[in-house]
């Protein structure tokens, strides 16, 4: 297999847009191609991620549409849907296309548009990522999924609502430093703790927002990447699945797919958690960040809450997590999120992250979780 690098990244402003998801992706993709300093004609394939276009935009067959609006209607395209891990899954497959020698330069990314529809409709469409027969029928929502996890974690380890609130405060503080972030405003612990319950014990400020946005990456084989000093190597990309049913999870306080994907990714890259300098992980809810920091091996099971409280995951802390502001403050356009996380890590490893730069970062990790914890992707990145 050939080594694969990311040679270009592009991310739209996250927030509310009056453009379609395909338009948002096209902007991000054009920026990524410019950033890569390759001719648009060099792109040989598009791996495209979107989740709710069929429901919210009455749009399927999005791959060719995205390629058409980009101005590259001739390239082969495939659309991916893996709930919130959609474009990270697309990335893994794009990486395999380049690694296998099928193509030398491939475009990957995704986009989502949901702020054009009412919140209860978006909540319904997102809930389609849980099982229709046994979970949607009882009214389980995504805040509900993570509320079940939060309560299990609180009861097993003594994790507190205040510790969860620290995650939100930290990610908002980071988001201030990211010009692309949806929210660029610091919040206090009190704001989080006094916000209304959405699904007990999770409150409004424990939840990431609905977001419109797009993100894109240009991947290239080593012989193309070697000439580009800003190239960042994809060291590993692994996916893991767990049962779709919340009632079948072996331990509600853990995300088994995170643990399995992480173990495989560290093995593929020849790295350990101690080698990682900067992390973008899936903080769709504050508890999700706490559980992920444990599952990725940065802290012992049950220690993630304390780590958040002590500031160990802040910029300047032991292991900076979500310098971009994370899903919580940067925003979560679900089809774009995985690619946007990778774009942030590439920016960090290039040393181009400005005021949110993790000094001297050489190795980065991204973690994206899909839906009811049934899909997780973990990838590792590095500089020579």
């Amino acid at each position: 297999m050939r080594r694969v690098a990311i040679i270009g990244v592009g991310v739209t402003k996250f927030g509310k847009h009056d453009r379609t998801s395909a338009e948002l992706f096209a902007e991000a993709a054009a920026d990524a191609i410019h950033d890569a300093d390759v001719s648009p004609a060099a792109i040989q394939a598009l791996y495209y991620g979107n989740v709710t276009g069929g429901e919210g935009e009455r749009q399927l067959h999005m791959g060719p549409l995205a390629a058409t609006l980009l101005g590259l209607p001739m390239i082969p395209t495939t659309r991916f849907e893996n709930a919130c891990a959609t474009s990270h899954a697309a990335f893994r497959h794009a990486m395999m296309e380049v690694a296998s020698g099928v193509s030398d330069v491939v475009l990957v990314g995704g986009a989502e548009r949901v702020l054009n529809i009412p919140t209860d409709a978006a909540t319904e469409y997102f809930a389609y990522c849980s099982d229709a027969s046994m979970e949607q029928t009882v009214g389980l929502t995504f805040p509900g999924v993570f509320a079940l996890i939060a309560r299990a974690h609180m009861e097993k380890y003594g994790t507190t609502e205040e510790q969860m609130a620290h995650v939100a405060v930290k990610n908002h503080r980071h988001g201030v430093l990211n010009p692309k972030a949806q929210f660029r405003k610091e919040i206090t612990l009190e704001t989080v703790l006094k916000s209304a319950y959405v699904a007990d014990p999770l409150k409004l400020f424990d939840c990431c927002p609905f977001t419109d946005g797009g993100a894109a990456l240009v991947l290239a084989a080593e012989e193309v990447a070697r000439k580009r000093p800003r190239a960042v190597w994809a060291l590993a990309s692994q996916a893991a699945t767990d049962t779709m049913f919340m009632h079948e999870k072996r331990d509600l306080s853990r995300v088994m797919a995170t643990e399995r994907a992480a173990a495989a990714a560290y093995r593929q890259a020849g790295k350990t958690p101690a080698d990682v300098d900067v992390v973008e992980l899936h903080d769709c809810f504050t508890i999700a960040e706490i559980v992920a920091t444990e599952g990725l091996g940065f802290f012992e099971p049950g220690a993630g809450g304390v780590a958040a409280e002590k500031g160990w995951t802040s910029l300047g802390g032991k292991i900076p997590v979500n310098p971009s502001g994370g899903l919580k403050a940067k925003g979560h356009p679900i089809g774009a999120t995985g690619a946007a996380q990778i774009a942030e890590i590439v920016t960090q490893l290039r040393g181009e992250a400005g005021p949110r730069q993790v000094e001297g970062a050489r190795t980065g990790l991204t973690h994206t979780l899909g839906g009811n914890t049934a899909t997780v992707l973990v990838s590792l990145f590095g500089r020579d």
């Binding site: 909540t123 319904e124 027969s133 029928t137 009882v138 389980l140 309560r151 959405v198 699904a199 919340m246």
Partner: protein
């Protein structure tokens, strides 16, 4: 080898009549809901449908206050993972139990929640 000892439709038809059904692996004895082809534990394809009593205890729960479209008038409502006495778990809507008395370990009993064509799993007081 046995196939289709229970379909999802049969599970819900039975549930609608107040009967909870699982499947038991003929090789390793694993109990499972919903029906599936291979046993996730031992990969055998040898299931038997088994009736479940419907009694269990809450493992984790939440009170959902922001509902999806179409369920707004039902909110707030509680949802819980319940571990049944037979050792298999099931997600259900909690009914007729005050929110402030919900706790892990609370005994509950299955009851079907029927709304038009839809049947959902519910749990009420034990």
């Amino acid at each position: 080898m046995t196939e289709n000892v229970l379909t999802l439709k049969q599970f819900f038809d039975e549930a609608r009549a107040g009967r909870l059904t699982g499947i038991r692996c003929g090789k390793c004895g694993e109990l499972s809901i919903p029906p599936k082809e291979f046993c996730p534990g031992c990969q055998e394809r040898n299931w038997t449908a088994v009736p479940l009593v419907g009694k269990g205890a809450i493992t984790s729960f939440t009170v959902i206050r922001v509902a999806p479209r179409g369920r707004g008038e039902e909110a707030p409502y509680a949802v819980a993972v319940v571990r049944l006495d037979e050792g298999v778990s099931l997600l259900g809507r909690i009914v007729d139990i005050p929110f402030d008395t919900l706790r892990s370990g609370l005994p509950v009993r299955f009851r079907p929640l029927v709304k038009g064509e839809e049947t959902a799993v519910g749990f009420g007081p034990a």
